[in-house]
Amino acid sequence: MEEHRLRTLTPSVIGILVRRGADFAAAEDAVQDALVEAVRLWAIEPPRDPKGWLVTVAWRKFLDAARADASRRRREELVEDQPAPGPGASVDDTLQLYFLCAHPSLTPASAVALTLRAVGGLTTRQIAQAYLVPEATMAQRISRAKRTVADVRFDQPGDLATVLRVLYLVFNEGYAGDVDLAAEAIRLTRQLAAVIDHEEVAGLLALMLLHHARRSARTRPDGTLVPLAQQDRSLWDTRLIAEGVELLQTALARDRIGEFQAQAAVAALHADAWTAEETDWVQIVEWYDELVRLTDNPVVRLNRAVAVGEADGPRAGLAALAEIDPTLPRHAAVAAYLHERDGDVATAARLYAEAARQAPNLQERDHLTRQAARLNAGPRD
């Protein structure tokens, strides 16, 4: 059994342990230990019933831990009174785990770490590597998070919006090491979509699939960024696009619009254009208007200014940009792009260099420096 399929069993096994009386933190530890053992043993002899095996081993790990902790008499009594194997309510358990791990009392970083471990079944080491922090730091973050939610009742209704926010954060971290966080976020969102029928869950999954479809076109072999307009669209994954578009259409048909559906709609319109020139920018502006109405997010306004620049010309884009706070990240980059389109190469070069200094990551800084260099080199040709 591949490791990622093994990991999909994590939330339902934790759920079964909790239903048998284990508290969440102890159940989560026990299932992690069982997963480690599974990775080691299953390579030699895979069990016929992987989930049953995990439940048995995890429960034993839980009992061992409970017995080892002599001060925890209450749990020992619970152990003696071992219940029958849990009922098949694993769908609800999985959803409850999403809610618990994204509980509003947790900080975003804690919720992300706890979700990846308890729902995703990743090890602390893998999560630490993905977020470039020491393993001990991540272990502390996770155990503090577990303490924070220790008193949350497992069966109380959760907040779906925070779950989606956490999954979106994981997706946006992209790829930084052995663990492919974007792929992991998609897997977890698929799993969520399988246990709850909600248009924004579908919208988020569609958004992820449509962006993931462009992944191989987004960077050159040397790691440099390729802007959307210059991407080789034949590299886009048509299977993911088709799946994303279908999910989105089904969600939109319910007529309960939300921000993830609207973002996915923008991505779908890009996916729909065989060349950058064919992009339906007028419709994209309409979706950004919808997003502004839904979120009133300044970053959305910035993206809208780009779209307006394409739909109605760079002057219109610059006019839209003039209404946005210039200290916003990427403001200078957008201004540079619109000025270049407007033919003001000197201003564009200056702004690209300024944008490079403010860039939030190395790839963008490199890209923006190259844009400035390209324009500065122009007159010399």
Partner: protein, 135 residues
């Protein structure tokens, strides 16, 4: 083995020989520079001498405690005269000479015209834990 920090400065280091800002290079020159840096780090990972490398944003702020119950005081962005770190590479090498040799190689990264930048890098030894045997 001893650890050293190779520090790269936005400001505060002596002026390099080939002092042209990157946005005045050609795109090919930028690519060649990036490739050199990437290959350098990869080579150190191969030799088991690489510890860590990070780049820093030029934007920074000085902050200090301002007393019980008060928010911290900030000062900045840095004044033009201040020393400004651009990034670092931490290495773990056998000798001080090896640290200097590697810093020299890093400083030879190509810049404008494809010629080495001859950038001044600062080599700083880490203060380590005391050894078990001291006498």
């Amino acid at each position: 083995m001893a650890k050293y920090l190779l520090l790269k400065h936005y400001r505060g280091a002596p002026t390099p020989v080939n002092d042209v800002p990157m946005d005045r290079w050609t795109e090919q020159e930028i690519s060649a520079h990036m490739q050199y840096m990437h290959d350098f780090a990869a080579r150190l990972e191969d030799t088991g001498e690489f510890v860590d490398g990070q780049a820093l944003s030029p934007e920074g702020t000085f902050v200090r405690y301002d007393g019980e119950g008060r928010p911290p005081v900030t000062d900045g962005p840095f004044a033009e005269t201040k020393d400004l770190i651009a990034g670092w590479m931490a290495i773990d090498v056998d000798t001080y000479d090896r640290a200097l040799e590697l810093a020299g190689e890093l400083s030879a990264a190509p810049g404008a015209g494809g010629k080495p930048i001859h950038e001044w890098l600062e080599v700083r030894p880490f203060l380590t834990a005391p050894p078990t045997v001291m006498e």
